[in-house]
Every structure is written in C-alpha cells, then in structure tokens.
C-alpha cells in the first residue's frame, strides 16, 4: 500500500467512526486513528538477542452526548466492531454528568502546517533495512567493550524505529493526517570493578538518521556513565549549589510541565495555579513550548484534538506568562488552547529551557563548590506544594573541577526556589526528546547524605 493510500484509508476509517458515533446518538464525535510500524532489536555481546517487528493500529474516539463525554479506544478495526464500540461509548456517556466545558474545539480558520513543512517524516528511516539495524546494535556492543576493559557485560544495545501515521477527523469538519518517523539507538553497559557492578546508559533519538548522535558517541557516553562513579561516597548533609546535567535537567522540566498543565491548575493541584504574571524564576529562566519547530520530536501540525500547534512562551525571563491548555481546560479557565492536547491529557510539544552559553565543562569551571547531578531516581507526587526531592548520583565539584563521585543521597528544595535560584545555564541544549533542557546550576539546595 502506498503512503498516500495509507493516509486516505486511515482518514476513511476515522470518518467511519465519527459517523458511527453520530448514528448511535452522539451530538459530536472525534476519531483518531494511529498506525505504527515498529522495529526494535537488542544485541548482547556478539549475539542479536531480540528482534521485534510489528504493526499496531488503534482507534481513539471521543463521543459527546450534549455536554456529556465518553472516550473509547479499540484495536478492533472491522467496521461492525467500530460500530458496536461507538454505540457502547454513547451509552456510557449518558452516565456522565453534564459539563458545560465539554466539546470539540471551535473550527479554526486557516490551515495547520503540513507534514512536509514540519519535516516529520524521513524516508531514510522508513526504508532502512533490518540487517543494517542488527549490525548497528552489534557494533554498539563491540564499541562499549573496546572503550573500557571494565565493561564485561551489558543490559543490551538497542536500535529501532517507528514509522507512524496519525489521522484525525471530527464532526465539526476537521480532517487531517500526517506521517512521522522516529529512530533511536542506545546502549547500557555494565562495568565491573572488584565485586561492584555499575550500569550506565545513554541513548539518542531523532526524526531522521542524520540527526542521531553517532554510534561511537553513544557508546562512549554510555561507558562514561557506567564507569565514572566507581568509588562513590555519600556526601555530607549540607546546603550547596547543584548543577543539573542536561538529561537530569530535562527531568526537572518534565516535573515543572505537570505544574504548568492546566488540568492540574484547574483542580488546585499545582503550585503555579493563579500565578500567571508573577515573577518566579531568575532572569535566565525562559521556557517555551513550541510544536512548530521543523524536524523535532515534539513537533506536529495539530495536537490530539486537531488544534494547530503553536509557540507559547511559558516563562519569560523568570515571569510566568502562560499555563498550557487543551480546549476543555482553556474553556474552564477562560483561556485559549495552546495546542497541548495529548492522548487524553495535556502533553508537551517541544518544551524546553532556552540555552545559555558554553559547555557543561565551562559551567563546572566557573563553580567553586557544588554537587553535579548526573542521575536522579524517584518521582514527585505533589505538584500542589511544588516540593522537589530525589535520590541522586553524581560528582562533588571543588575549585571548578570534578573532585570525587557521590551517591546515596537526596537533593531537595521547592520548584519555586529552584527556578529563582538558576544562576547559570549552559549552551548544550539538544532536541532529542519532547522535553529537553541545557545543563543548569541552582544556587542552593539541601543535600541529605551522612
């Protein structure tokens, strides 16, 4: 089946689901059909240990009966199956309370950007031979072992990709579809020193092969993460500056995103609720959500309910300018959708902290004393209070240089204090995910160790 045929077939099925819901008594309906061709393989040592290849298709339908809503997902794409499921969803919607904010987005004037303009699809990913990917996974395994004698094992090297088609149709006349690709390569070496084992992992992802970090760089960064913390000690309990390396910095931004999500703000589950216009971060804090950046993983012509994506400045030099909305929460809070509707939740497009200058090494050199955090474990549950607490690993920085590795400690603060305390931002931003960040330094946090 050609790509164009694939897209028109997807649009036809989505249209069928919308029509089926309307016939069953829905007053409005929206259907999204997602088709994904996934390939992944894993190598360990000199063997390919896993090979997975499949096509998955799923249909996600929202039905509205007046002001009542139900959602349906199904993998049964036979027409009678779609019809029965749509009817069941309409029955379920009748049990839901009336909600004046429920409904499809207003039809919007003008067209969303096309697949081509956004550069979301790469033929080199779609056409890549399986053997090429198996060879690359084996090459990663070879490279991590060549890199350091202590790499005696691994949790596998992985290479894979997804070629996806997304089609969305609603009963207010929206109809759109696009194809996209995503390729990744990663490795997780295990280093052994005496009786101690340590795992490191590093991966890269992009829409096209040319944007991936090469296999050599992935292998060496993964090995560096596995071996660099040997001999780590527990730091003293104290208050010091903390430098977040860019991957960990991105995880801080992910937590911040949850507090910026209007769905949390609307129910009081966000420390940022009602604070638009307040000065919260330092001058260095400019945070943007942008779904229109060509070629990036978080870009798409329209969001999960067919609203065109756009650029939203969330924090501008420390001042909170906007939360992030889908149509429902925008209506509820008297705002306009920022094009952040995801699969049933508010989701990031390309959500990032604007880069500063220089490398992470430059930032370390400008820091007399700090803890550099390379990895955190644990996750926040309370966005309302805005408290931050994580288990962490990394290095003690003394006199502008790495002094010794540290682990088995926590770092704690509040998001408000952390944003206000960002006093240096590096220039090492890379768009290898939908939430990304350059490395940054926070002037003071609590370290709990010995």
């Amino acid at each position: 089946m050609s790509a164009e045929n694939g897209i028109s077939h997807a649009l036809e099925l989505a249209q069928y689901a919308v029509d089926a819901a309307l016939r069953a008594g829905a007053s409005q309906a929206e259907a999204t059909l997602s088709i994904g061709d996934r390939f992944s393989c894993e190598a360990r040592g000199s063997a390919v240990t896993k090979l997975e290849q499949s096509r998955s298709r799923s249909l996600h339908v929202r039905v509205f009966v007046g002001e009542r809503k139900a959602v349906l997902s199904t993998t049964d794409l036979e027409l009678p199956g779609i019809q029965a499921a749509a009817a069941a969803a309409v029955v379920q919607a009748r049990c839901v309370a009336d909600d004046p904010y429920a409904g499809l987005p207003e039809p919007c004037a003008g067209d969303a950007a096309g697949e081509g303009e956004l550069d979301l699809f790469s033929q080199d990913v779609a056409a890549r031979e399986a053997q090429d990917k198996l060879d690359e996974a084996l090459e990663l395994e070879r490279r991590i072992r060549e890199r350091d004698r202590r790499i005696l094992n691994s949790n596998g090297s992985h290479v894979g990709d997804t070629v996806a088609t997304t089609a969305l149709v609603n009963s207010r006349g929206f109809s759109g579809a696009y194809r996209s690709t995503r390729a990744h390569r990663s490795s997780s070496p295990v280093a052994v020193e005496g009786s101690t084992k340590r795992t490191g992992s590093y991966g890269t992802a992009a829409r096209k092969l040319a944007d991936l970090e090469d296999a050599g760089a992935v292998a060496s960064k993964a090995v560096e993460r596995a071996v660099s913390l040997f001999g780590a000690r527990k730091p003293r309990t104290m208050r010091v500056p903390v430098i977040f390396e860019r991957d960990v910095a991105a995880s801080v931004l992910s937590d911040l995103f949850a507090a910026l999500s209007a769905s949390n703000a609307a129910v009081g589950n966000s420390w940022l609720a009602g604070r638009t216009g307040d000065r919260i971060g330092s001058d260095l804090v400019t945070i943007v959500d942008d779904g229109t950046l060509p070629g990036h993983l978080g870009s798409s012509p329209f969001d999960g309910e067919g609203v065109a994506t756009r650029r939203t400045t969330v924090f501008e030099r420390g001042t909170l300018r906007s939360l992030l909305y889908d149509t429902y929460y925008a209506r509820k809070l008297g705002a306009v959708s920022t094009g952040n509707a995801g699969g049933g939740a508010i989701a990031p497009n390309n959500f990032y902290l604007e880069a500063g200058n220089g490398s992470l090494d430059d930032l370390i050199a400008r820091t007399p004393k700090a803890i550099l955090v390379l990895e955190t474990i644990g996750f926040a549950t309370e966005h309302a209070s805005g408290t931050y607490s994580r288990g962490a690993r990394g290095f003690a920085i003394e006199g502008g240089a790495i002094a010794y590795p540290v682990e088995e400690f926590t770092i704690a603060s509040t998001f408000g204090e952390m944003l206000a305390g960002i006093d240096a931002v590096a220039g090492d931003l890379r768009f290898d995910g939908s939430v990304v960040s350059p490395s940054f330094r926070v002037s003071e946090m609590t370290i709990s160790g010995e």
Binding site: A47, L51, S54, A70, G81, Q92, C95, T446
Partner: protein, 464 residues
C-alpha cells in the same frame, strides 16, 4: 477466540527456520472505567484490545511479532517475522499438535459481563459523600473505578493449549485537604482479581474514610528531617520496600545475564537471618495472582529468601531454560504487544515474633513509614528510592508528629542486613500496586509485617 488448528499452523510457520520453541499469546481485554471530580462523574472510558503475539526462541535469542488482525494470513506473516531470529540456526520442518489443558483459577471467575454503568457510578458517588463527611477540611475528592476482564489463549510448540480469564477491579480515592495555605493529600485504593461485588464488603466508604484520615493527618505534617536515622516500616504497605529493595534483583533475567548483584549467590547469606521473603502467584483475589502466567505455566509459591539465605530466583521460560531450571510461573507481560519477562506476583515477608509496641518502644529517633507512594531501584547495585505517603517522626519510643515530603534512599542488600526486628503482624497491602519494568506494567501485590531497620537515609529539607 482463535481456533487451535490455526494456532498449530502458525506455530509450524514460526519454527520453519529452525527455532527451538515458539508460542502464541492471544489476548482479548476490555476495561470500563469512570472518574469522579468535583462531585460529578467527569468522564467514562471504554477500552477494547485484542491481538496475538508470536515468539520464537533460538538459543538465547527471541524473535517477536504481534498483530491486532487475527486472520490466519496476518498471523502467518507475524510468525515469519518472528522466525527471522533463527536465521543462523539449522532449519527443519516441525509439526505441532495442541492438547487442551485445564486451568485452576485463583480468582473469582463467576461473572461474564461488566456490571451496568450505574453500579460503578454509585460506588464513586458513595466514596465522594463519605470522604466529604469526614472533615470540613476536605477540599476535593477525586475517585476512579475500573473494571477489567482479560482473556488469554496460549498455544506452545510443546503442545499446550490453555485459556485463562482474569478479572481485575480497582477503586481509588484521592482526598485533598486544605487549611489556610496548606494542602495535603491522602490516597487509598483497593480491589483485586475479583468482580465489582468485592465492594459490597470492602465498601467505597471504608476506602474514602481511610484516604480522608491520611489527608487530614498530613495537614499537620512537619517537614521531614534529613540525614541517617532508624526506620520502622509499616505492615502491609511497607511491602513496597521488599519489592524494590530485593524483589527486582531476584528476577532471573538480571541474574542469568549477570547484571544483578544477586547473580550467582543462591545459597549465600544475603540478609539478616530475621528475613524471609516469598513470592506467591496463588493467593486468592490478589492483584499479582496468576492461575497461569503469560507463558502458560501455573502460578506458584516461591521461597526467595529463607532466614537470610538466598533460595532462588523468579524464572520465566527462556531464562529458566538457559539456567537449567524450570519456569516458576513468573513469565508475565503487559499485553500481546510485549515479550514476557520474569516478574514478581505477590511478594511478602511472613510474620516474625516482635510486637509493634516492642518495635516502637525500641526506637530512639527515627521515622515510621506506614506506607509508600512509590519507589524505584537500580538493579546492578540495588540502590533504591521511596517516597513516604504516610509517615511519622518517632522520638524516644513514641510517635510524635506526622512528616511530609520524606524520601528514603538506601541500598537493598545493605538495608536487608540492617533488619533488627520483624513484627508478628504480616499482612498484604491494599490491592492497588502496579509494577513497571522495561516499559511494561503489570498488577502486583506486596505485603510485610512491621519491620525495624537500624539505619537509613531520609532525604528531607530540614537539616539539623
């Protein structure tokens, strides 16, 4: 749903390039759920999933492909993709004959249909009313109910053909309290491999009241102290500690591959001699129970650690075969889209001899972690982190104040040597735990008596 004769043909195709073993995992699942927010039923959802995954094993390697189209043509196509893993092995035509085997269910299998929607809606509304009636400090109640039925059909190239029906219900209530500028939370969820009738005895009111009590208590919480101190782990919910600190390290894939710190240590002392740990797939109605696992092996009671000595690992088919032992019924997967992995079922520590009062009285300065909100572990070293959901300061043998925002960090094997008392009150936690591994989520059970750990690092914001 699938004709066993079709599965026989698909298995033959899967082995045509010389794989040693193949299986077909066919699944049909439907989930209906409702969510209550601000006193109103806010949303309902219906999910229907079906498909089949085909696996081919050749040596240490596995080829996998799945299809949501269950036609013979689509399944044969998937089987040919999965068979590619065996390209370097010698090919040979195989024939497969499936024999039906009976499955002994460990869950209430009586119902065949979801309850009418009104039944679930009523459960949520009762929970909402009960939570609000608990205290004027209750500011918001969010509640969620889900009822799932998963049916699986498993055919294996060694001739087994099995069918299992797995019900799963859950009801979770989150209560938010507020007073002046303070906000606090309490969450309680319960359910299990049973039907909606479960909530006739475990009432939504009882769940909501417990959640409200925690949320009210947490309003008075003081910031957690930072640094090393003693810890009392609460019975039931404290079992998350066992799950993270020890359980994952005893899953056989990490051990076969030599990446776990427990690799090659069966028969060795790995914990205080007060510590015994079981993993059991056969407990009636528990979330982690499996009549058969996702490879068709019956669920079992496994002794992981006995009196501090490591007894064995949790095995799936492939890792067991490569280690020369049988599967322990631990091969689980999230859905037909995933390869099975060795996973925990219901992991718990049996009772010891101390009373809660003795343990409390012996604690000079520490934290009593009654339940955890979640945790994570790094397998090669056993380092873990937990968030305390309900915790208290203990000073001179007495509980003094609730604490908030406490994070516990430690090292699994290290903590297990620091178990200095085990209570006589072992029980399984409320049934609402889900475990994630390699991107796959499966329901599990955890349990624990009250346990005292002589020293652990608490990460709070209060230094001094």
């Amino acid at each position: 749903m699938l004709d066993p004769q079709i599965v026989e043909r698909v298995l033959c195709t899967a082995l045509a390039r010389g794989g040693e073993y193949a299986d077909v995992f066919c699944e049909r699942k439907s989930v209906t759920s409702f969510r209550l927010q601000s006193g109103l039923i806010h949303e309902s959802a219906l999910t229907k999933t079906q498909g089949a995954g085909i696996r081919v094993i050749a040596g240490e390697s596995a080829g996998y492909a799945y299809s949501d189209d269950l036609s013979l043509e689509a399944l044969e196509r998937a089987a040919r993709v999965a068979s590619l893993i065996a390209r370097s092995h010698s090919a040979g035509a195989r024939s497969v004959r499936l024999e039906s085997s009976a499955v002994q269910p460990f869950y209430d299998d009586a119902r065949s249909q979801h309850e009418p929607a009104e039944t679930y809606v009523a459960l949520l509304e009762r929970a909402d009313v009960a939570a609000r009636a608990q205290s004027p400090l209750v500011a918001a109640v969010n509640a969620h109910v889900a009822d799932e039925l998963q049916e699986v059909w498993i055919g294996t190239s060694d001739g087994r053909w099995l069918h299992d029906r797995r019900p799963l219900v859950s009801l979770g209530v989150q209560v938010v309290t507020s007073h002046e500028k303070q906000r606090a939370y309490g969450f309680v969820g319960d359910g299990g491999r049973t039907s909606g009738a479960y909530y006739q005895t475990r009432t939504p009111e009882s769940i909501a009241i417990e959640a409200a009590r925690i949320a009210v208590t947490n309003l008075d919480a003081v910031p957690a102290p930072a640094g090393e101190m003693e810890m009392i782990v609460g019975s039931g919910g404290g079992g998350v500690l066992l799950h993270e600190a020890v359980g994952h390290g005893l899953e056989s894939d990490f051990n076969r591959q030599g990446v776990s710190l427990y690799s090659g240590r069966v028969g060795e002392r790995v914990a205080s001699e007060l510590v015994t740990i079981y993993d059991d797939g056969n407990l009636d109605g528990e979330r982690g129970s499996v009549s058969i696992d996702d490879e068709g092996t019956p669920g079992q009671h496994k002794v992981l650690v006995e009196r501090g000595v490591l007894q064995g690992y949790m095995q799936d088919y492939l890792n067991g075969k490569l280690m020369g032992v049988r599967s322990t019924g631990s091969g689980r997967r999230q859905s037909f889209r995933s390869l099975p992995q060795p996973r925990m079922c219901n992991t718990y520590m049996p009772s010891g001899s101390s009373t809660f009062e003795e343990i409390l009285a012996s604690t000079k300065r520490g934290i009593y972690a009654k339940s955890f909100a979640g945790g994570q572990v790094e397998i090669s070293r056993g380092d873990f982190v937990f968030m305390v959901a309900e915790g208290y300061l203990v000073e001179n043998g007495r509980i003094t104040a609730p604490v908030k925002n406490a994070t516990i960090v430690g090292n699994g094997p290290d903590v297990m040597t620091k178990v200095v008392a085990v209570g006589n009150d072992s029980c399984l936690a409320n049934r609402h735990y889900t475990c994630g591994k390699g991107g796959q989520y499966v329901p599990v059970g955890v349990g624990m008596p009250t346990v005292k750990i002589s020293s652990i690092t608490v990460g709070g914001s209060h230094v001094g």
